[in-house]
Symmetry: C2
Subunit: 313 residues, 2 copies
């Protein structure tokens, strides 16, 4: 069966992908994941969004933080601290195995796509997880404190520095993976997860050919990352305000209207449905907040039904 | 004060070095350590002998195994196994921090000497730990199953394959570190620890200039790795037999007689004292078996007194 394709970044995207994976038959879901957050630490190549999606789909994610592995320990980190190494990015012991093997396999000449597939298969993930690109793209955040590497901004400074703009270094030369383009071309629905639009989705959309592929795809549905004027997690709302944009789901719908067919609005923002419809989009208004795992599946089922309705007119 | 210099390999050498460190004033001991066992695993550079010496001198060694860190956990290893990575070499979580940072610092262009000094200082080691060389030397074991990389032979096959010979790949091009040569040149005594002569000491001695430096040094004392026809740990006795040599401390004394001044024999081999003396060496016969930490210091003090007696005639 043609895949349902999700575009995802961090924790919110991973939860949505997990709901979709449970709502679909095994292997029907393909997740294209942001790699603009990837960086090197202690000589290891870290892919935070790929790992969050992989651990979540494997049922191994830390339920408290949303990232990292459930029940992980921090013995290596503790020892790195003793050695005077950098410890602001908290890598767990089990998590380290992922970064160590990924780095070794990449150095041995495998692509990030191949490495990701191998890791995910070992963890029993039935869904297809695809990095957005096998090339290097690095999100840089222009702030009042100068340009910061993504993790400098996000983790080290806890996204407290006001943002003036963003760029995705390397994105002009990078290509989306052929599997990602093929998945979009054959998708029976594309879902933009409720990930941060600036940090998680824009890097994917900035890759050559992705926006065009989304214009060709049908139906394409975005799930709001903004609920009642706030982001559920992370700096999406704060960044919207700092960038001089209205802190509203309408801002997101507007941003993606060239390829969107449907938009999922939270009940808290039901009053905005008219404005989103005025952009030419169909709207599903529902409870989009995923508190418990059951919420993810319920929301996923509603979105898949909504997509089916768009398909049948 | 001029340093006492120890030549050491693995666990036995580390214990002896620890005894010497406790018997001397802080900083008086310099340990030149075998790096022929070094290898790469999961893309990380592992230096088993350097780490065993460092952890032992830091008081952090696992008292049961002699190698690795006391109380270490194996979460990362467990996860590597899940990913299908190699797990025959058991790296602990805290131990991993050492290999990760060493590898990162080496890649950043620092020498193994610099990296070792930085790691040891962070662990509060007062003695000077020097890798025998900053170049690549890899011990290869010729066996009935063909030539094996050292850790293949030692850990993976548990030194059960009969040995036909050894070679130290790269040793012709490698140079001892200038600090090691300087330490030997200024040493007030040189102690060859009770390490495996073939696997731990021969690689150091095979480096250009080391044997000559030892001939110049005075006094040079070797501590027997063979007690009552057996090695206390590891394959020294087994290898001696396989190489067609007499399994005896005399074999070791004979091997190093060109630069040795004194030899420390175990009481179990007191009957061999005449044969060792016949090689032109002075002999100290004592209990050389280091069961408890107190034994190390007692033995170290006896050896240092013996060296002093050699010095004063």
């Amino acid at each position: 069966m043609a895949p349902v394709v999700a575009l995802a970044g961090g924790v919110g995207g991973a939860k949505m992908a997990d709901g979709l994976a449970h709502a679909l038959a095994p292997g029907e879901l393909t997740v294209i994941v942001n790699t603009g957050d990837d960086f090197d630490l202690w000589g290891l190549h870290i892919c935070p969004d790929l790992d969050t999606v992989m651990y979540t789909l494997a049922g191994m994610a830390n339920p408290t933080t949303g990232w990292g592995l459930a029940g992980d320990t921090f013995q290596a980190l503790d020892m790195v601290e003793r050695y005077g190494g950098e410890t602001w990015f908290r890598l767990g012991d089990r998590d380290l195995a992922t970064h160590i093997l990924r780095t070794a396999w990449l150095r041995a000449g495998h692509t990030l796509s191949e490495v990701t597939a191998r890791l995910a298969a070992a963890l029993g993930v039935a869904s297809v997880i695809l990095p957005m690109t096998d090339d290097q793209v690095a999100t840089k955040v222009q702030t009042e404190a100068g340009e910061l590497a993504f993790q400098e901004y996000f983790v080290r400074r806890g996204w407290q520095v006001p943002v003036k703009g963003l760029c995705f270094a390397g994105v002009e030369a990078a290509r989306p993976t052929s599997k990602a383009l093929a998945a979009l071309a054959s998708a029976r629905a594309v879902i933009l997860c409720p990930s941060n639009p600036f940090l998680s989705l824009d890097p994917i959309l900035a890759l050559r050919g992705v926006r065009e592929a989304l214009r060709e795809a049908f139906p394409v549905v975005a799930v709001t990352p903004i609920v009642g004027g706030q982001a559920l997690k992370g700096p999406a709302a704060k960044m919207m305000a700092e960038l001089g944009l209205e802190v509203s789901p309408v801002t997101v719908a507007e941003r993606y209207k060239d390829f969107l067919d449907g938009f999922v609005l939270d009940v808290a923002d039901a009053c905005q449905a008219r404005r989103v419809e005025a952009l030419g989009l169909r709207v599903l208004t529902t409870d989009t907040v995923m508190r418990a795992p059951g919420d993810r599946v319920r929301l996923a089922r509603e979105i898949l039904c909504f997509a089916d309705r768009l398909l049948t007119g």
